[in-house]
Subunit: 232 residues, 6 copies
């Protein structure tokens, strides 16, 4: 999988969505998670899912943080290199994690946190160095609006289904999920597509019109083959 | 529990929310489920939870209906007298159940269906006789927008947490969840409150002003004690 | 004012919005309040405003109902014939009033309740006989989501400004506010417009095409004058 | 086409969405249009599209109603039996049509009006007898929030694309669009499906469990073939 | 027009909205489009409109990009100096354009892209140098949620109507549309207003109180006249 | 109060929400106001409330800016060090204040502006130096969507109640309100909590696992006591 991940790290999330559309999958991009700051690297990793339900005052309390089924417990189960994906039901008024938890995740080698909810302690989370894609920031803790109920389950996040073992790719355009059985396809077909788009960019740079170029007609395809040979 | 349920059947959901507020619980009424038609009876029963995540084109297909983890499988597990509560994430463009499934639920003795999503086949669902609280109606099947992932789990529904074993009460004001350990309290304190409100109604009918009456001051409380004795 | 109100009772809210548009006013129809049941009469009356802010757990408690600034206190100040207009900020998860309060309002001669929030105790509110325009129904009490802060103030309701003394008209198309200084205009110009539309309806019934008819060209206007004379 | 329409009149919109899903089409049900009143018949007809853009105060005036490109002009172009489908961009605070226009549409033989916006003059529109599917009711006229720009164009309505010549079916579950080239398929395959569901209903009535029944396994399919023979 | 555009480049969108309000126009600022990055220049140009409707799986495919009515075809029709304004119905889960298309637009001399939808390939779009005002960023291509249907038509964008030939001004406060016949007025009255506000700023800097200053009373107006003379 | 404010300036809004939760208060963080730019200091001050209702065309005009009850009048009443909190009902299409008003506020020593609405003249507002937390930016003036009705009243802002005299704290995580009688508690308990979190951070840095650490078990508490002694 590592070699495939290396390939995927060079494929944009935009290209991945186009590859998945070829397989009939339109619902793969999460509507909500955005990078906390721009300028970071593209992150690739297997999904480690987290699930929240709404808060109920008798359950969602600071005391609940010490229970076995807690965000703390979940973090200690995260394998190195995974991307934690949290279903916060799009709630934007309670931060699922703050600086201490993201510090610990970074320490454990977690690759990134992706959520359709929000984080808290913006300054501290940035300082922790953990790349975060979220729907924003809020001051209150998760218990203010959410109850944590488990990890490793199928979840929804930003309007798409995420299953444990699916692969997540996240960059400045947001986060996409690749179904486990399409990872190889998305990586290799995606890499080909990136190469093709490099050619198209060079064509646009020299002033070629779009119709016939992109999508490519036979003539463009022929020029692409020549271009590929010449660049070797 | 049956005796308690008999008491609860005479307590409005409005009163139940007020009783739970006394215990610090504000998040117990589901925002979304409404009765499909008005005029039915109040329904009380233990929650049987169902959980959906968003559709993904490779998973949410008519073929998936034959899988072991399917809405069909779930229905056959529902105990008599339960209220099925379905977390549809508030999706209103895909009906979680249609007439055939509600017919089967009715046949199995399910007391009601409550969801923050919608149902399809309005005419047939009404004909099935199963009381339904939903966020409306849509023509498409669940697979058009949702993937069913399991039953008997903690869920969110209409912005509140529902755990298996919690008790649901639903009437014209919608549906509320009572945490398992507060069911006795809500029933008996609620019944007292209903009696008190009957007295208040009779006072308003004879023209008494609200301040001092509701909430009751000492004088009102005394009149209430007298009223209670006299009605025996 | 009573004579003007009698005229307004025969002018639809649809027509009133068209009359106000002639004066440059587009924001007069409240987006949110709908009749609790269809089939009632058109209601006209001066606005008695009520204002809520969001709940805060230390303020919005059942105990607060006994404070001088309470919904109970406000109701006892409502003059006969007024329409209570409540700014609930569009909150649909906490009922501003239930059956006891609407019973008392009816008893005091309040003409109607209009709100961009919701009511609770649907069955009891209907039984009280008070006409209600709301954004729906919820079981929880106001304190579950709202804090009452006063009456007789300028408010927003359903996206429009309402000032004490403005006139409210409500029918099956919802509720509109008429600025105090435009009430006479809206009533009398509106009544003329209703008469004109009766003529148009009769023309459509006999198969006249719309262009030239509505809006009316010179020929149509002439026919209208004849029609008016003949009906006397 | 008339024979096909007769078939479609017996196929529910729920079934049509399932048939279109077999062809990979998930986006065919309009999220927004609901019947103004329940209890009417299923309506089938070719789409006659209408398009609105937002109001601009210099354009959206009562005077604009007399322009050649006006809702009035559009109505006079509607062929008998068509279903007018209006893209109101989901605006719910300005009624696209009122009683006079729906009267004229009815008079011209228009089969129904479907919109993701709202209508005004609820009482009058119902009296006109034109079946209406809308997102509700508002008092203000279209010019209060919308500018009419044309008919016979591709439009969006309730989140789906509608092209002139597509076929619309509307019933209590809402309105669906069938792409022109799939109308025969949807009608005939849909009618088969309705027959099959009649059999399933009879099976559920006699207590058959869902797994293996719906979706049908080989045994169920065999019983269905027998059932079909016997009912002839 | 070029001279007028030069004037407009020094008038803020904030001032333009105030000028248009003097003419009764409130709906001119697009709610949605924001600059992709802050710090760019104010852009002025005539609107070149683009229109999308929702995706339907049989129409919105990568193959559709090669059709004559395609975004590619539209781009080749854009005149130098125009501002492309795309009605994406506020859809934020499918990017209408990515880097290749914005590169080509830049190459053709298009001044800017404004949309109530989103773009994809953030890094590449920024590299193309085309100024973009959008409602954000998404990875999926337009066909994932949208079908392109034409250019040069009246559209809605961000809640306002835009007609071909209207003038667009965009800066850090967003994008406004000026109706064609008010462009001269907005430019010259706006420039006067900017000068007046420079005076007001200098007055605030020296500690003058707001009442009487802004809006200006007679005394302030006199001081302004003196200030204007002195600065010449 | 000044000493308490100095303490609060070192307590994050995240910590304050946790302290208030200990007192049963969950609704204290405003959903909407975000810093106009990141990187500024935490601001603390007593709330000076401002209230808007929706615009009505006869009231919300540039002329209204000269009335005694105007935003201008309100600004001149703001005491030094206060934080202006404006209830704009979440309206994001009309800027409540622009550069001239924020300049004047800065000049008067106002500490910050917090609103669930938006500001206009982004460049000028930033130049004024007044720290602003808002829901974004828009070009139109307040009168385009709002009518100012008063100051010093209870308001709602971002879903929470704010009373004059409450204390506001705002930082990169947004703005929170502290009820007047809990200010001392929040400050001093909050400062203790910040110290404790510094210890936890150092523990996470040296690789301690979360369970038992945060929340702290007896062993962690003991280590904390030692850590506190050693740092003196």
């Amino acid at each position: 999988m590592n070699a495939t991940f290396d390939v995927l790290r060079k494929v944009t999330t935009a290209t991945i969505t186009t590859m998945l559309l070829k397989k009939g999958i339109r619902r793969c991009w999460m509507n909500g998670p955005k990078p906390l700051v721009f300028g970071g690297e593209r992150i690739v990793g297997p999904a480690f899912t987290l699930r929240f339900v709404p808060a109920r005052e008798d359950l969602a309390t600071p005391e609940s943080w010490a229970k076995p089924v807690s965000t703390r417990g979940a973090i200690e189960e995260m394998p190195e290199g995974c991307i934690a994906v949290a279903d916060a039901m799009g709630v934007v008024s309670a931060g699922i994690f703050g600086d201490i938890l993201t510090m610990r995740m970074k320490r454990r080698g977690v690759a990134a946190l992706v959520t359709d909810g929000v984080v808290r302690d913006r300054v501290g989370v940035l300082a922790s160095g953990l790349p975060v894609w979220s729907a924003g920031i809020a001051a209150p803790a998760s218990v203010n609006g959410l109850t944590f109920v488990g990890w490793g389950e199928p979840i929804g996040c930003g309007g798409v289904a995420v299953f444990p073992g699916d692969v997540i790719v996240a960059d400045e355009d947001g986060a996409v999920v690749i179904p486990q059985n399409l990872v190889e396809f998305a990586a290799h077909e995606g890499a080909q597509h990136e190469l093709f788009e490099s050619f198209i960019v060079s064509e646009v740079e020299r002033g070629v019109k779009l119709p016939g170029l992109y999508p490519a007609n036979e003539d463009t395809k022929a020029r692409y083959e020549t271009w590929k040979k010449n660049r070797r």
